[in-house]
């Protein structure tokens, strides 16, 4: 992509201050027609802040600097204002209207479809259906959003931005909760938009994606542009170095499965009922995790991976037998699971991770207060010191334990939740998308942490949508399709192709079976 072309959308000398925190310090940024411009940087570098300014979430007047569209200065008072100027936005945090249908969410704010006051329910559903078909998404437009998984919700807000037919489209970590095939579908849509001349700003922490579809990259560091990189010079190592100023020797720390270790978690005939269309449940799951072993659950969106974790943790009703370090335990609620030594890190930080009404410190200790209290009273000094210890052990960056969690960057929120689940020293740790929205350096820290825990004898069961991540990190991978385990392989015995192959084979088998039954 030639950068001599006139920029379609540009920002000059953008600076933004949040009550003392200088999030951006004079950033110049632009996109040209038909370009996908990657915006990279560590957690808290200021990427989201920049696109929120470009999109009117932080309205004109709350920052300094100028924005130009088509060479003319513009200032947006709100996202709606930006939208009417042809600037679309997919926010990092999923914002959906839970009580409305998928179609209504896709057309939120425009349910009249431009002609009059009435809502054309059927037309909305039909149009939403067409867009989903286009995106290769398998979601019923009439389903209620409340019943969707977080990945599906994310697809809904992506569709919402795309139906506006924007000229400039900003995507803030659109793939954070998507897995391989959905990402591929999204990419083919983005390529088509690109061919139509849409200018796109693409934020991600997944560097292979940048290599795959971006034309240019700008790296932010501490609110400033660290470097601009043209496609010819793309290289994962360069990205990481310019984001963090560090060189990583090895992406995945070394670890090998323990030999002859006792079983930490043993699951027999676990069945989780599916509910409300979008969530399919899991059937007759048998798996075991040895102490010190890292086991991955691979599969596509909606295959039942999270349901398996939730079933083990007692979050959803499940049948089956669960043994922890050899003892049979009856788990009917998360409380039981925790008492048995199982901990769960949930996938959606906003919905079922953070407590936004409590400060950073209390978010870490919630549920872990028993050892920090005497006669039911919290021991303030002890709590504070253990919070500080946990924060520095995981390198959580927050101004103090009293800081609000709302404005922590995504990666720091994730580390905070890690600190919460680790405080109890669990024997079995279930991780659902542990690196979602986390920058490369932090990811590396999380991988190290996982391996460290394994070395201490914790059994880990991990769900991640990035298959390379599972393959690199796990001693053993189980492939889940349609709520069943369809394949299993050890470290070095397979890669991404094997996962996709077994998923496809399982689906083909099921279709053949269905055909047999119906004939």
């Amino acid at each position: 992509m030639s950068t001599t072309q006139e920029p379609l959308f540009s920002a000059t000398a953008i600076a933004k201050n949040f009550g003392g925190v200088q999030a951006l310090r004079g950033v110049d940024f632009d996109v040209v027609t038909g370009e996908i411009h990657a915006l990279l940087g560590q957690n808290g570098a200021g990427k989201s802040t920049l696109v929120k300014i470009l999109n009117g979430v932080h309205p004109a007047g709350s920052y300094t600097g100028t924005i130009q569209l088509d060479g003319r200065p513009v200032s947006f008072a709100s996202p709606a204002d930006a939208r009417s100027n042809g600037v679309g936005y997919v926010p990092q945090e999923i914002e959906v209207l839970e009580q409305l249908s998928v179609a209504e969410n896709v057309f939120a704010g425009r349910t009249g479809l431009g002609d009059g006051m009435l809502v054309h329910q059927r037309k909305l559903e039909q149009r939403a259906g067409e867009i989903f078909a286009d995106l290769g998404i398998d979601i019923n437009p009439r389903a209620y959003v409340a019943s969707l998984t977080s990945a599906q919700r994310h697809l809904v807000i992506i569709a919402r931005a795309i139906v506006q037919k924007p000229r400039v489209l900003m995507l803030d970590e659109p793939t954070a909760s998507l897995s391989g095939t959905e990402v591929d579908a999204l990419f083919s849509v983005l390529r088509r938009l690109k061919a139509q001349g849409v200018a796109m700003i693409y934020i991600t922490h997944r560097l292979p994606e940048v290599l795959a579809i971006c034309d240019r990259a700008t790296v932010l560091r501490d609110g400033q542009v660290a470097v601009r990189i043209a496609r010819e010079d793309f290289d994962a190592e360069t990205f990481i170095f310019s984001m963090s100023g560090q060189r990583l020797q090895r992406l995945f720390p070394e670890h090998s499965a323990p030999v002859g270790a006792p079983t930490a978690l043993d699951v027999r005939h676990l069945t989780v009922a599916g509910h409300s269309g979008a969530v399919h449940g899991a059937r007759d799951i048998n798996l075991s995790v040895a102490a010190g072993e890292i086991v991955g659950l691979a599969g596509l969106l909606g295959s039942g991976r999270s349901e398996i974790l939730h079933g083990i943790y007692g979050r959803v009703p499940a049948d089956g037998e669960i043994r922890v370090t050899g003892r049979t335990v009856s788990i009917r609620s998360p409380r039981d699971a925790r008492a048995a030594g199982i901990a769960l890190l949930t996938e959606d930080r906003k919905r079922d991770g953070l407590l936004f009404n409590l400060p950073v410190g209390a978010n870490i200790t919630i549920g872990n207060l028993a050892p920090l209290s005497r006669h039911g009273m919290v021991r303030g000094r002890l709590e504070r010191s253990s919070i500080l210890a946990a924060m520095s052990a995981l390198n959580v960056k927050a101004s103090s334990p009293q800081a609000s969690v709302t404005h922590l960057s995504g990666g720091n929120q994730q580390k905070l939740l890690f600190a919460r689940v680790l405080m109890r020293a669990p024997k079995v740790l279930l991780l659902d998308e542990p690196t979602k929205g986390v920058d490369a350096a932090t990811r590396h820290e999380i991988y190290r942490l996982v391996v460290e825990l394994a070395e201490k004898g914790v059994g880990l069961l991990i769900v991640a949508s990035e298959i390379e991540e599972l393959i690199g990190l796990c001693d053993r991978c189980l492939v889940v399709a349609d709520g069943r385990i369809v394949d299993e392989f050890g470290r070095g015995e397979g890669g991404e192709d094997r996962v996709l192959w077994s998923v496809t084979a399982a689906q083909a088998e099921r279709h053949a079976l269905a055909a047999q039954v119906s004939s």
Binding site: F18, G19, G20, V21, G44, S62, Y313, R315, S333, P334, R335, R338, A339, L344, T346, R351, D352, G353, L354, L355, F356, N357, L358, A362, T365, I366, G367, N368, L369, A370, S373, G376, M377, V378, G380, L388, M391, S392, V396, K397, A398, S399, S400, S404, T406, H407, R420
Partner: protein, 336 residues
Amino acid sequence: MNSVAEVSSPPRNAQLFRRRLIGFIAVGEVGVLAAMALLIAFFWLLEPAFLSERNIRAILNVVSFVGIIAIGQTILLVTGEFDLSVGSVAGLSAVVAAKLMTAAALPVTVGILGGIGVGALIGLLNGLIVVRLGIPAFIQTLGMLFIGQGLIQVVTGGYPVYPLPEAINTIGGTDFAFGLGWSFAFFVIAAVVADFVLRRTVLGRNMYATGGNQEVAHLVGINTNAYKIGAFIVVGALSAIAGMFVMADLGSGGTSIGSGWELTVIAGVVVGGVSLFGGAGTVAGGVVGILLLKIVQSGLVVIGVNSNWQQIAVGVIMVMAVGLDIVRRRYFIAGA
């Protein structure tokens, strides 16, 4: 200031002062206290009799009754629910206690325990229905408001219950100091204990978590249903106690005890910074809010404002207080 390590290095003095100031203003109760001081000064300048001993005593006396309920309502709001039936429960418990002592001729203690039992039982019922059947608290407790009012009539036949045993009149007539008796003493002690529980105990922390996000609280192993039901029971029992104190004060089990209190209590605690959405607010704040509301009402009476305008003032103050609270949160806590 972005990391734990940086913070421990001493920041410059001006910055430190600024931060302290912001931190101070960010404390919920400070705004309400400042507003209260201004209002007191205002009424006093217009009419010095506002600060007469008699008037102060009258205000504190009323606050001691509704304040007891406000304590419970604050706790319940923190766990993410609320109760509109508090006034009815107060009235019903009072007349039941009165009937037990008179018509049934039971000892005074049994009567009092019976009254508290009625309140706690209604709270339990409200809690079970809201939590287990998933009926919204608004509907359930609104229904209970009417049921309670009806039951008051059923129990009393529409006539106040009196004379009450001498012991009750003694409780009502006790004057520890400054004309304040048992109800005020109970109110102060209950407020201090409840404030401590919310601020400092595991129980309190778990309540904030429950009100902040029930799903998260459940996932970290908190029995959110038990906390909610427990809070409903506390509100019921405290409403009953408040109702019986009014009964002792009046010397009779009147049928109008508690009527209209539900909205006063909610308006008051909201003025004091307790969130209607759960998970935020303190007992100290709620109590100060109620006090502020009563000061305004009394002040308007003292300076001779028509009673219709008093109601209007209460409405305006409540909306303004919540508006100010939102602004305060946005500018001082979020720092945006």
